[in-house]
């Protein structure tokens, strides 16, 4: 039975697919993904489904991760659900910047597909 609804937002379709695959290795996780902020908002507008956690890519065209996060907060979609950023920039400064937006944590790309779900659960358990 799923106990964790996860929204994955990334503009790279391949990565979305791999990540979804990885996350769904954990049978408790239900993954929905979107290719960007607009798509995510549309999805949330057309459905009562609300995520328990959001994984947000940082570098996306149109709206970047922090912008999507701000918009989600504004729209009240989060309802306290933590947000984890996924980024290819591994520098400590970038990490600190992202945490400054109020993210629960930052996962660096490339992530380990076999442990991604565990990593997310570990972050949520903190």
């Amino acid at each position: 039975m799923t106990d964790l609804k996860l929204l994955y937002v990334d503009d790279e379709a391949d990565i979305r697919e791999v990540a979804t695959f990885s996350l769904e290795l954990d049978p408790g996780i239900e993954v929905r993904s979107a290719g960007g902020g607009v798509e995510a908002f549309a999805m949330l507008d057309g459905d009562d489904w609300r995520p328990d956690v959001v994984l947000l890519d940082v570098m996306m065209p149109d709206m970047d991760g922090p912008a999507v996060l701000a918009r989600l907060r504004e729209r009240g979609d989060l309802n306290g659900a933590p947000v984890i950023f996924i980024t290819a920039r591994a520098q400590a400064e970038e990490r600190a910047r992202l945490l400054g937006f109020g993210a629960a944590d930052v996962i660096t790309k490339p992530f380990d597909p076999m442990t991604l779900a565990q990593d997310v659960r570990a972050i949520l358990a903190r």
């Binding site: 791999v18 695959f21 290795l25 290819a88 945490l99 597909p113 903190r126």
Partner: protein, 839 residues
Amino acid sequence: MTSFLLRREQRGLLISVILGLVVAPLLLFLVTFELQREFSRGTVLREAVNHSYDQRMQLQTVFSLMQDSETGQRGFVITGQERFLEPYHAAQRRLPAQLAALRAMREHDAGDLIETDDPVFDRLEALIARKQAVMSEGIKLRRENGEDAARTLVSSGKGKAIMDEIRIVVTELQAADKAALDRRIAADGALTQRTERLTQTLFVVLVVFLLAAFLMLSRQIRARQQLFTVAQATAGRLDAILDNAQDAIVTLNPSGTIETVNKAAEEMFGLPRENLLRKALAQFIDLPDRGELFIRQLAGADDLSKGVLRELTGRRTDGTTFPIEASIGLVRLPEGERITASIRDISERRRVEKLKAEFVSTVSHELRTPLTSIAGSLGLLVGGAAGALPERAARLLGIAHSNCQRLVRLINDILDIEKIESGQMEFDLQPLDLGELARRAVDAMGGLGGQMNVAFELDVAPSLPLVRGDADRLSQVAANLLSNAAKFSPAGGAVEVKVSAPRPDVLRFCVRDHGPGVPEAFRDRIFSKFAQADASDTRAKGGTGLGLAISREIVQRHGGRLWFESEPGQGATFMFELATIETRARVPEASDGAARVLLCEDDPDIAEILSEALRQAGVRVHTVGDVASASAVLEIGGFDAFVTDVRLPDGSGLDLLRRLRADAATRDIPALVISAEAAEGRGEALDVVDWLQKPIDLERLRTAVHRAVNGHADSRRIEVLHVEDDADVHAVVRDALQERCTVRHADSVRSGRAALQLSRPDVVILDLGLGDGNGVELLGDLHEGDEPVPVIVFSAQPLEDRALAASVDAVLTKSKTTLDQLARTVRKLAADADSKRRR
């Protein structure tokens, strides 16, 4: 060419000077001398002529007197009348004087024209005497014997004969005199002729000489003109070179005043030449200490003649700044020492460096994006997420997967190298347990060890001091050394990892393998980028060839060293050493409120005496023995004063003080200097409380320490509790506050509560979303008691509850608030609480 011309010209000049100064006056003197002689000879001759005339006149006078006498005497003889004798007597009276005068004249000439004895004149005198005798006899006869006797005497002709003789002698004398004069005039004429010839000759010589001198001079002027032209051309060429130089080139006098500039300098600083000259360089380049010290250092530096390269900041008149690279050298000119500075605007280079860094960063990001998909897919397949795979497919996918991971490591390493090379790698230096770091590294490496069938054996010496380092970066070094050792170990081999203290102030991290060792030929290149013993290694071992280069850089940036020892076939030992620090735990905590003083003195006996004296002054003393330890401990902070010796084993206490003064965090610490030398004004420059010369007056030391400590009572450190579950955010905040605050960290509501029970801080910084609850849960604890602790909510989430917001002292939002703002708020709240307490 120039020097040859110069030499020839100098020789010519010397000859001219000698000729001009010596020969010409000599010639002129000779001519003058000769003319002078001629003139004086003329004068003498004129005198002689005059004299000869006078003499002849005198002779004539004497003769006339004789004739007058004869005429008078004859008149008397003929007439017998006494009246006729009057002219006779008159003449006879005058005669002796006139004769004497004549004799004197002739004697004057004696030896000149006439022989010394004067027989002719003697004869004249004798004749005159005889004539006088005859005349007076005649007069006597006339009176006594009458007219006839006298007439007979006259008629006898005796008187006439004498008189004739006198006339002859007079004529003879006159003729002789005239002849002598003529001879003299003739001789003189000859001499004049000689003078004329000599003068003419000398004049000709003078003219020749003058001509020669003129020729020489004109040749010299020509040579000089030539030289001037050459010099002008050289100077022009140099000017052209200088003015066409891309770099600004200035020369300074030793006090730092600009003496010359080139065109590029005018353009660089946006000012015409005349506005740059005679100005201090410090007006146009930001120099430490407004340039004075810098220039003095430069002027005094021994190796300045070799030139030094400095990166500084240039300043235009409009206030804009630009990065420059100045190559500074010392030249010794005839007029004294000059500093030359060749200044290059490196804005463009900086821009390119930045672009390159951005490019590398972007590329690595762009590479990572597809790699994420590839590594993810492969990882899932290899991990069995898609079910069991045929053996061949699994092997191929395994190869793809491991190479994909290598690519990721390579990108990470390239990013690291780029950061190190551009100086952008920042280190979060914290007190660090190197033994613990080794333990974790070995644990993390366990998987690889098992995979490679290599066992790690860890040996950490007990109770080691801490080092100062960036845990992540040093872990990276440890991981690199461990994985290298594992890769080069034979199957079933052991890798020994050892952490020890070879000296009390140094920790050594040692990794020893029993592999083939480092080949001789490879030793020199082992730390180079992309260096691998042989190309096949890359594939066999899966390394990037950057690991050791990065590791060594990281260790060096920590002030340590990384090296290896190896004998082929005997394995290799890679190790690095870091200086230990006296950590906070070892610094006595002044819980009793006593001031804490750091003493830096290498001589243990002196240190003991001084610290005893300081303890008597009522302060807590912590002693270190070198500059490195002192700066490490000072960086941790918490000291109220700093006492340092000047000569320390690893440097100068004054240099350390200079660094302390340059750093905002340590600028204000009161300092005392102990030195064998006199201060000579250095104390003021470093703002020391006192400069104590050895042997030290302990009473003065105690007084000075007292002054130092009490003068800064207000700068008490603020105790801050930071409740924050993200370690990175905490690290950033602690960094920002460390100047004035001691920051404790709690990462959850539970640990926050525990910390508050332990001691009450001056200020609490509170994050809201914590692992085990919300930060606001702590507000109750904080508001307890009669002295509520000021609270700053510092969170990414907005504090929506207005009542709650009103109950805290400040609400700051993470992404909107700068760290400076946070630090200011902390200081303000602490000061407010302090003043409230005092009231």
